[in-house]
């Protein structure tokens, strides 16, 4: 079977700097995969290239949504990437601070709603029905993620950990088949991290998601991941299951001198 995400020879140059250098990564359906590497290795850049925020200098990004044929994401604008079923969260939390928690999630529903401007002004029954359903669906997602008690809070007033979860809820609202999480545990306390661990597993098992996550918390990465990809200075240096990665001399060298979280 085709991998659900197939990134081929991706290169991203910023002027003279090669943030990504010929990186190829394939992710199978139903996997929880991790992308790790020291600070500045190019992990976030990798996400940005997949989701259309950057246009890669070379290489191709292909997806094979369940039940659909393989297609390329290269050159698509971010909103079309999302429409095709690839959702993401951000390392530096990017919630909509002028909106409530529920509305943040409703924004995620945007690309799955059909009513346009005329319908918004005239509010025919179809539009009302759709709005009501959007509210209901968003609430349901918040329930699943465990944020339903904050529905009407302004997003900025949430705790750091809750904000990270809200980012996941918002991404879920776009109905993705592939979820990209950029350091979801950053800034979380051990208890929150444990809950996140459960949540990610739950998402994979109950929402039929494939997940690729960037994470510095090695304990989380090792316990969650089916497969780990390691990048350093923009180059992919290793790939394997947690045991293989732990034993890989290249990886150890890359992390040497670095205070990684499990050291």
């Amino acid at each position: 079977m085709e991998p659900i995400l197939n990134v081929k020879n991706l290169t991203m140059k910023f002027g003279g700097l090669k943030a990504l250098d010929d990186v190829s990564i394939a992710i199978e359906k139903g996997q929880i995969a991790a992308l790790i590497g020291p600070n500045g290795a190019g992990k976030t850049t990798f996400f940005n290239c997949i989701t259309g925020i950057y246009d890669p200098s070379m290489g191709d990004v292909q997806i094979t949504p369940p039940g659909k044929s393989t297609q390329s994401l290269r050159g698509l604008k971010p909103n079309y990437v999302t429409e095709r079923g690839v959702a993401r969260t951000f390392q530096n939390i990017r919630l909509f601070h002028g909106m409530t928690v529920l509305e943040n999630v409703m924004i995620g529903r945007h690309c799955r709603l059909s009513s346009g401007i005329i319908k918004a002004m005239l509010r025919p029954p179809s539009q009302r029905e759709e709005e009501k359903k959007a509210v209901y669906d968003s609430y349901e997602i918040l329930e699943k993620i465990g944020l339903d008690k904050y529905v009407n809070e302004m997003a900025v007033n949430l705790s750091y950990g809750a904000q990270r979860r809200l980012e996941i809820a918002r991404a879920m609202a776009t109905e993705p088949f592939l979820l990209l999480l950029d350091e979801p545990a950053a800034g979380m306390n051990p208890k929150e991290t444990k809950e996140l661990d459960d949540l990610i597993l739950w998402l994979r098992d109950n929402e039929n998601l494939t997940i690729l996550l960037i994470e510095h918390d090695m304990k989380l990465v090792m316990s969650l991941s089916d497969r780990i990809h390691v990048v350093d200075y923009g180059k992919k240096i290793a790939e394997g299951n947690p045991q293989e990665i732990k034993a890989n001399p290249e990886v150890i060298k890359a992390y040497l001198g670095e205070e990684s979280d499990d050291a």
Partner: protein, 412 residues
């Protein structure tokens, strides 16, 4: 801050102002006798006034700070609380309605005329609020669309004899069209760049109107624009004013109605999301450019309709009515009233347009007062006079099964 430190700070500020205003407040050249007069008393006044003003300023500043910490929970503006409360909503709205219906019959024509201007600004403000307040696009050329509407009525009437009621919907379409046409090239820019380019566009439209004589009659403008008729019937001058007043009221209500619906729809949420974070917005599947363009075009729609009213009311227009100052005034209405808050914008328009009309003494210094007001509002009420509140949804939760009346998804 301890009181001693405050006094010290105010003293320094007073001293600074005394130096700053020295050349204009103290030195005066007597050109007849060719001597310089030093008005030391003025210096003293400046010092004393600034000293106390600074103390008062500080006092309020501290109160705002303290209020922020304390009322974290319920800082909903009073008017919103009134409107949300079922018991007060009806009587309150009834009173407002009664006031506005009775207005033209109680007050002399002059006041009705001023109120029409203010209400046109309510429309303009609500329109610009979509662009600036909701979508976060700083548009300094908004007056261009106002001009499009006014000239559309004047010219279509002059050349083709089209009546007010035909041109009004036409102008809405024209406004939208111009919004798209002007927005298309400029909306790729962001922030300050957008502001400068829209400012340029606004001026271009005015300069074209001023110089394209054959088309627009140039700086002489167009006179004898007919007032709207009532099923073919033309009222006398006074009644026409009342008639226009009620047309504007109807249009304002329509504007509030539609803008409110837009605000709480998919597209309105997309505007706010775009304002808050463009990248996250796109990552949520929202087409950035299309969303900006709809905001720009819809904002232009209301401006053009406002322009038609303006032309019909004054019966004479020329390019001087559509200068950059007009754009700035509308922007002030939105910012001082409360960005993104419809009620705030209405309040802002009424305050900013009615006040200078009634305080003729102030009218001279209109822009100065606006500026001062702007600073004061920004410091003490950064969200505007009446800040926007987001819609609150209630849900049937498992803990409260007895709450039968409130179903999933309905809002209070």
């Amino acid at each position: 801050m301890p009181i001693k430190q405050q006094l010290k700070q105010s003293l320094i500020i007073a001293f600074w102002f005394m130096i700053l205003t020295f050349p204009i407040m103290v030195i005066k050249v007597n050109t007849i006798q060719n001597i310089i007069v030093f008005r030391w008393f003025n210096l003293l006044w400046v010092g004393i006034l600034t000293f106390f003003a600074s103390l008062v300023w500080n006092y309020f500043l501290r109160r705002t700070e303290a209020g922020k910490k304390k009322d974290f929970e319920d800082d909903t503006p009073l008017i919103h609380r009134l409107l949300q409360n079922d018991r007060f909503r009806r009587p309150f709205l009834g009173l407002v309605a009664a006031f506005f219906i009775a207005y033209p019959f109680i007050f002399p024509m002059y006041h009705t005329s001023i109120m029409i201007s203010a209400l046109v600004y309510v429309m303009l403000g609500l329109g610009l609020n979509i662009v600036v307040g909701l979508a976060g696009l700083l548009d300094l050329g908004y007056v261009a669309f106002y001009a499009v509407g006014a000239y559309a009525y004047a010219l279509l009437n002059l050349h083709f004899g089209l009546s007010f009621w035909v041109v009004l919907p036409l102008s809405a379409l024209l406004g939208t069209l111009f919004g798209v046409l002007l927005g298309y090239p400029v909306l790729r820019l962001r922030g300050d760049y957008l502001a400068i380019v829209t400012l340029g566009f606004g001026e271009i439209i005015r300069i074209v109107l001023e110089n394209w004589d054959e088309f627009s009659n140039g700086p002489r403008g167009i006179a004898d624009i007919p007032a709207p008729t009532f099923f073919g019937h033309q009222f006398n001058q006074d009644n026409t004013m009342i008639y226009i007043y009620f047309i504007v009221i109807a249009l304002v209500l329509m504007t509030i109605f539609f803008v409110h619906r837009l605000e709480n729809s998919k597209i309105g949420r997309a505007w706010i999301a775009l304002r808050d974070d463009e990248i996250a917005c796109q990552a949520m599947g929202i087409d950035k450019f299309k969303t900006k363009l709809t905001a720009f075009a819809l904002g232009a729609t209301w401006a053009a309709m406002g322009g038609v009213i303006f032309a019909a009311k004054t019966s004479y227009i020329n390019p001087m009515s559509f200068t950059i100052w007009e754009s700035i005034t509308i922007l002030c209405v939105v910012v001082i009233g409360g960005m993104g808050s419809a009620i705030g914008v209405i309040a802002g328009a009424l305050v900013l347009i009615l006040l200078p009309e009634y305080l003729r003494a102030v009218a001279e210094y209109r822009m100065l007062v606006f500026g001062a007001l702007q600073v004061i509002v920004m410091v003490f009420k950064p969200d505007g006079l009446i800040k926007s509140v987001r819609k609150v949804y209630t849900f049937k939760t498992s803990q409260e099964p007895q709450q039968e009346k409130i179903a999933h998804g309905t809002h209070t």
